[in-house]
């Protein structure tokens, strides 16, 4: 099996794995449909924006939870945004955690919120690693064409 075929198989398997494990849902596939020769890096670009956005939001959440008097509405606003953007790229596990997080915000439970944020950071970093690996495979596939 030549390098190209191998890489493509790895890519397919990794994508299938991410779907199966619930890292990604249908929406990610929707994004992939939007990628073509006119917009060959579309998915990677969107995900890159998502990463920047996410890191900002996670820090905002942490900051809001560290206040002397925690403004849970403010925390919730950040989580709501994160939920939206993760849903938009198909990041299912992250999105579901955000839903859980919002419940804790509504209940105004600081301990649960802090715990949830920790889980969220972890889940997000897992996703980031997985997607970065996927994009690396794509780069290698493109390089193999040349």
């Amino acid at each position: 099996m030549d390098v190209m075929t191998q890489l493509q198989r790895q890519w397919r398997e990794h994508t299938a794995y991410l779907r199966k494990e619930g890292y990604l849902d249908d929406q990610f596939e929707q994004l992939q449909k939007l990628q073509d020769e006119n917009s060959p890096d579309f998915v990677a670009e969107v995900v890159s924006i998502f990463f920047d956005d996410s890191e900002k939001l996670l820090n905002n959440m942490a900051g809001a939870l560290e206040q002397k008097v925690v403004d849970f509405k403010q925390v919730d606003a950040h989580v709501h945004q994160f939920k939206g953007s993760s849903a938009s790229i198909g990041a299912m596990r992250v999105k579901n955690l955000c839903i859980e997080f919002r419940n804790h915000c509504e209940a105004q439970s600081l301990e649960e919120c802090v715990r949830c944020l920790r889980k969220l950071r972890y889940e997000y970093s897992l996703l980031k690693n997985q997607l970065e690996y996927l994009f690396k495979l794509e780069q290698q596939i493109r390089a193999a064409v040349v």
Partner: protein, 234 residues
């Protein structure tokens, strides 16, 4: 189901040009060969990028802005400016806006547009991550053309093309279309049970009535739209 397309208001596409019928005495705007221009409003950069791509790939021209205020500025409706026309020179054929935005919500933007004599004819579509019956109702009653639950998919955008085509909707048809069974709720919202609606549709008064046979009586009005099927011609 027979649907009577009265006139191509903005443009004719290959698929629906054949079905567009001219009604005598009704002014038909000349079809132009340009792509329809959509103004997309969303405070999320990720979502703006996605909606922009969804629209472009569906052959729309797109202007994406990050707030209701900017949208109004683009249209030339900003309070600070007195001109009623004269945005960038690019006619806007459709506005698609997020509901939840800081500052001006999509609902507030919708109201401002519908209050404007120059722009109230422009179809406005609301997007929201939250599938809340009262929210959807409010928007539709205020004159929103459609309510799309996020995340937005290609099929949702492809359906938007139909708004560009249809000038008039039969009222009962409209009610039926705007209230269909909710599909899978992915969020932990209280489940929306089916409800009947007696509210009339929010047709713009300037739309001419269709003088043709109405479809058979609509099915019982169910829970709110998740994805509207606006046309059988998909």
């Amino acid at each position: 189901m027979e649907r009577n397309v009265v006139v191509s208001r903005r443009r004719k596409t290959e698929t629906t040009a054949a079905t567009a019928a001219k009604i005598e005495g009704f002014d038909v705007l000349p079809a132009d060969s340009e792509e329809a221009h959509v103004l997309a409003v969303d405070d999320s950069l990720v979502d703006r990028k996605v909606i922009e791509r969804l629209l472009k790939i569906s052959s729309f021209k797109v202007t994406a802005v990050d707030s209701g205020r900017r949208a109004l500025q683009f249209l030339g409706l900003d309070e600070e400016k007195t001109s009623s026309v004269g945005f960038d020179g690019l006619k806007v054929d459709l506005i698609i806006t997020d509901y939840c935005m800081p500052g001006m919500t999509g609902y507030e933007l919708l109201k401002k547009i519908k209050e404007s004599s120059n722009f109230r004819e422009i179809p406005v579509v609301i997007m929201s991550s939250e599938n809340i019956l009262t929210r959807i109702d409010r928007c539709l009653e205020e004159g929103a053309e459609d309510f799309i639950v996020k995340p937005v998919k290609l099929a949702d955008v492809k359906r938007l093309k139909d708004y560009m085509m249809r000038e008039v909707r039969i009222e009962s048809e409209s009610n039926m279309n705007k209230r269909k069974s909710c599909c899978d709720l992915t969020e932990s919202e209280p489940s929306i049970s089916s409800s009947s609606s007696s509210s009339s549709s929010s047709e713009s008064p300037s739309r001419a009535p269709v003088s043709s046979s109405a479809p058979s009586s609509p099915s019982p009005l169910d829970s709110p739209v998740r994805r509207l099927k606006m046309t059988p011609t998909e």
